[in-house]
């Protein structure tokens, strides 16, 4: 029998980026909030110690800060004809663990999806006709750019994002991204200083007539005090960013931007080492009444609450809905059901260049340090004569020169022995790269459900991912590889290699922790799991917040849009829902 705890106004599952944002906003509105976090408490001074954070083996290779597959794994297959097997170690993507979640070890690349993303089906149909997107399950998100722009602004100012605006209220700004959707004001901090490789990239892109701009970065260019009064430090380009926590208070995370204020509030409580097993519904299944969780000793508790906010990682949000029977499982055969629908990823390619006469110091880097062109992003370029929709940002970022995993050599070089040593010495300092991060569009056969065979440590089914790169996205990525070939020309490198995406998503090599969809937002309860406020269509006191709500993934890092959606959902709860509980959008 579970021990029943005193009822709260709201219970939040997971205290990462979205959970911290919701907790902060809901407690500000006077709600009594408890957050349940499966992993441990972690904070900068104690756990992200500047004296030993620069440990590639421990953090990047042995993945000390990441979710352990022994705690929660997932199964994968490329199509429904295969038998899914567990990813026994996470490889292609790396979910986070503990307080701060994946926001602890992200890179800090802080993008805004475009106005044309939020209304993608309408936009593409109007521009090219419905036949252009046949076979893709693209749909509008329900929220419009004008509605959500202020939420992006709110998130960037919390993070102290460093960048250069390209479009302020419709006025194109020199030096910024001319393709971005109009913003109400500039970033809170100026761009980071740039390393040699990114500077060279920007010069060459300008020569080619493209529009390079500093990648918007939540690695801070200067000391900053955010709107909550929390002080952050200037990034030192240490080169231990992604896969690491920042020991320098220079990378935005829940720890560096929200928790110092949130944790002191009397109307907030955090329970760590507390794993939520499911959301409990009323007998008619129309309302959530509580959540069941286990503490570290395996004791079971029930936490009743008026509002349940599911704020785990995108994939875990979907699993929580399925385990709790909130909404209906998506069926790729009939196309019916909504939970698990429109799972998307990221579609990337890259170019590597090697020189005789250049010295790049690749170890002087940061997670979001670089220059980008958006000339081939989204629908910023004309697709009428192309055989795909979607696009990619092309960036030259310099994140690290950590030598266990980052030792580029000329392809075909030996991987061991004396010749390997010489090739490694030749390649390490003299190499730069840039890459396309491409959109991932939904198709009927890519989806999420519960695995029929494999279970977690509590005996609950694992999440099953059925995914391969859709043909549209493969064509898009190959087009980007052709562009990369052209972009490498003016560098006159001694050696150039451009990668081409292969069909058959491989779960082993690291690619991207940008898993999206599965509990998508939208205008229609038959094709979306949550409404435009991230409120479950089926159980209106449940809000499901995160990249799980993305109806598709753009060619950009998702966290900026995740943060904006969290502020947007929090605003809906505090200004609409608590005044009049119930469905905020009629079904």
């Amino acid at each position: 029998m579970a021990r029943v705890l005193p009822k709260r106004d709201a219970v939040i599952i997971g205290l990462g980026w979205t959970g911290s944002i919701l907790a902060q906003q809901l407690t500000d509105a006077g709600l009594n909030v408890v957050a349940l976090e499966r992993g441990p408490w972690r904070d900068t001074a104690t756990d992200f110690n500047i004296a030993y954070m620069q440990d590639e083996l421990r953090y990047a290779i042995r993945k000390d800060l990441f979710l352990k597959p022994s705690v929660e794994a997932m199964t994968m297959r490329n199509n429904a004809g295969q038998t899914a097997l567990p990813m026994r170690d996470y490889g292609s993507f790396l979910p986070g663990d503990g307080v701060g979640g994946a926001g602890v070890h992200w890179n800090g690349q802080t993008w805004r999806f475009w106005d044309s993303d939020f209304s993608i089906k309408t936009h593409l149909t109007q521009r090219y006709g419905a036949a252009k997107i046949k076979g893709l399950q693209l749909q509008d998100w329900g929220v419009t750019w004008d509605e959500i722009e202020h939420s992006f602004d709110q998130y960037e100012y919390i993070c102290g994002t460093s960048g250069k605006a390209g479009n302020i209220k419709g006025q194109i700004q020199p030096g910024g991204n001319p393709f971005e959707s109009p913003r109400s004001r500039d970033y809170p901090n100026p761009p980071l200083r740039m390393p040699y490789a990114s500077t060279l990239f920007a010069e060459k892109m300008r020569e080619l007539g493209h529009h390079p701009f500093p990648l918007p970065s939540s690695n801070l260019s200067r000391a900053y005090v955010n709107p909550l009064g929390i002080r952050m430090g200037e990034c030192t380009f240490c080169g231990f960013c992604e896969r690491f926590a920042c020991g320098n208070y220079s990378k935005a995370s829940a720890q560096t931007t929200i928790l110092p204020v949130l944790m002191k509030k009397p109307n907030f409580e955090l329970r760590t080492d507390s794993e939520v097993l499911k959301v409990n519904l009323t007998q008619d299944g129309k309302m959530a009444r509580s959540v069941t969780f286990l503490d570290a000793q395996g004791v079971e508790y029930e936490q009743p609450a008026d509002v349940v906010a599911v704020c785990a990682y995108a994939l875990m949000n979907v699993r929580m809905m399925l385990l709790s029977k909130i909404g209906t499982q998506y069926d790729p055969v009939s196309g019916k059901g909504t939970v698990g629908r429109n799972y998307c990823y990221q579609t990337s390619a890259g170019a590597r260049l090697m020189f005789d006469d250049k010295h790049f110091n690749p170890f002087i880097g940061a997670g979001a340090l670089g220059q980008t062109i958006d000339d081939f992003q989204g629908d910023g370029f004309d697709h009428s004569k192309l055989d795909f929709v979607g696009g990619a940002g092309i960036s030259c970022t310099v994140s690290n020169g950590r030598p266990i995993s980052n030792r580029p050599t000329v392809p075909g070089s030996p991987r061991w022995g004396a010749k390997w040593k010489q090739a490694t010495v030749d390649g390490y300092q003299n190499s730069m790269g840039f890459g396309s991060q491409g959109s991932s569009y939904p198709v009927r056969e890519n989806y999420l459900d519960l695995d029929p065979t494999y279970t977690d440590r509590h005996g609950r089914p694992l999440l099953r991912i059925t995914f391969d790169f859709p043909d549209n996205d493969v064509r898009m990525s190959h087009y980007m590889s052709e562009q990369l070939e052209k972009l490498t020309k003016p560098f006159n490198a001694k050696y150039t290699a451009v990668a081409r995406l292969q069909k058959g998503w491989n779960s082993v090599p690291y690619q991207s922790t940008h898993n999206t969809g599965g509990a998508i937002m939208g205008t229609d309860p038959t094709t979306s799991a949550v409404n435009k406020y991230l409120q479950s269509w089926d159980v209106p006191n449940v809000f499901v917040v995160g990249a799980s709500a993305f109806a598709h993934n753009a060619g950009m890092n998702p966290t900026g849009t995740v943060g904006a959606l969290a502020y947007w959902a929090a605003e809906a709860i505090t200004t609409k829902y608590i005044k009049s509980p119930g469905a905020l959008v009629p079904a």
């Binding site: 408490w41 620069q54 352990k68 597959p69 297959r77 320098n248 009397p266 004791v299 266990i404 030792r407």
Partner: protein, 244 residues
């Protein structure tokens, strides 16, 4: 109790830590409310390995691994060898710990032959893979050359390693664990030993870092970020403060 720590000695703080209301570790897990929790020495600094003796390998296994890492990273003007740099010690300590037991991985069955896109699906943790792989390697060289691997000439050792790398040699392993997978495991761990912080037993005197010009655990490059095409002037430092 006043949450302010002013005037409170460290001993006082430690003695009273159990009574801190902000950090009550109770039977129902760790509940935190009303303050930003902080406790002294809460972090987990890495512990340098003891470089003496073998923790996991038998003497024969140790000699075999030393011979392998000597060929994967041979001594030349660029650096000392993998053996001299402690790569075998590094691998031994890794196998004796959490990595060797795969304690953070998903190890529940059923175990089935997977597709290449599904990754390793065998039931052996790295420690078991080394134990089986090293034994099978010596069986192979005894059959083919009538000698243990460590007794072969450098050229013969390279021939065997290249055969494993190129899937031309098939050791007697087990389903779900191929010779190529064994080679990849050893190569990856050897490179880890050569390039990881020296506290883990390899990369002795930061030889791997010096070979390529990686400055190690430095944390602040603001004085060099703007410099174009200028080599970084300082040598490496390790986490425990070794300078080179």
């Amino acid at each position: 109790m006043d949450n302010s720590l002013r005037g409170v000695t460290r001993r006082h703080l430690l003695a009273s830590a159990a009574a801190l209301p902000i950090l009550a570790a109770t039977a129902d897990g760790r509940t935190i409310s009303g303050n930003l929790p902080w406790s002294p020495f809460a972090g987990a600094p890495p512990r340098p390995v003891n470089p003496l003796g073998w923790y996991f390998f038998t003497p024969v296994e140790a000699a075999t691994v030393e011979a392998i890492v000597e060929r994967l990273i041979p001594a030349d003007q660029l650096s000392p060898s993998g053996k001299e740099c402690g790569c075998a010690i590094f691998i031994d300590r890794q196998l004796a710990g959490a990595f060797g037991q795969a304690s953070r991985l998903y190890t529940k069955g059923p175990f089935r032959q997977g597709l290449p896109t599904q990754g390793y699906q065998g039931d052996l943790a790295p420690a078991g893979r080394y134990r089986l792989g090293l034994q099978a390697l010596n069986e192979y060289t005894n059959t083919t050359y009538k000698k243990d691997f460590r007794a072969l000439s450098a050229e013969q050792q390279d021939e065997v390693l290249a055969g494993m790398d190129g899937s031309k040699i098939k050791l007697n392993l087990k389903p779900g664990f191929s010779t190529k997978e064994f080679f990849e495991l050893v190569l990856q761990n050897t490179m880890e030993g050569f390039f990881a912080d020296p506290l883990y037993g390899g990369n002795k005197n930061m030889a791997g870092w010096k070979m390529i010009g990686f400055p190690g655990a430095r944390y602040d490059y603001r004085d060099h970020i703007d410099k174009r095409n200028v080599p970084y002037p300082r040598g490496p430092v390790s986490i425990y403060g070794m300078e080179g």
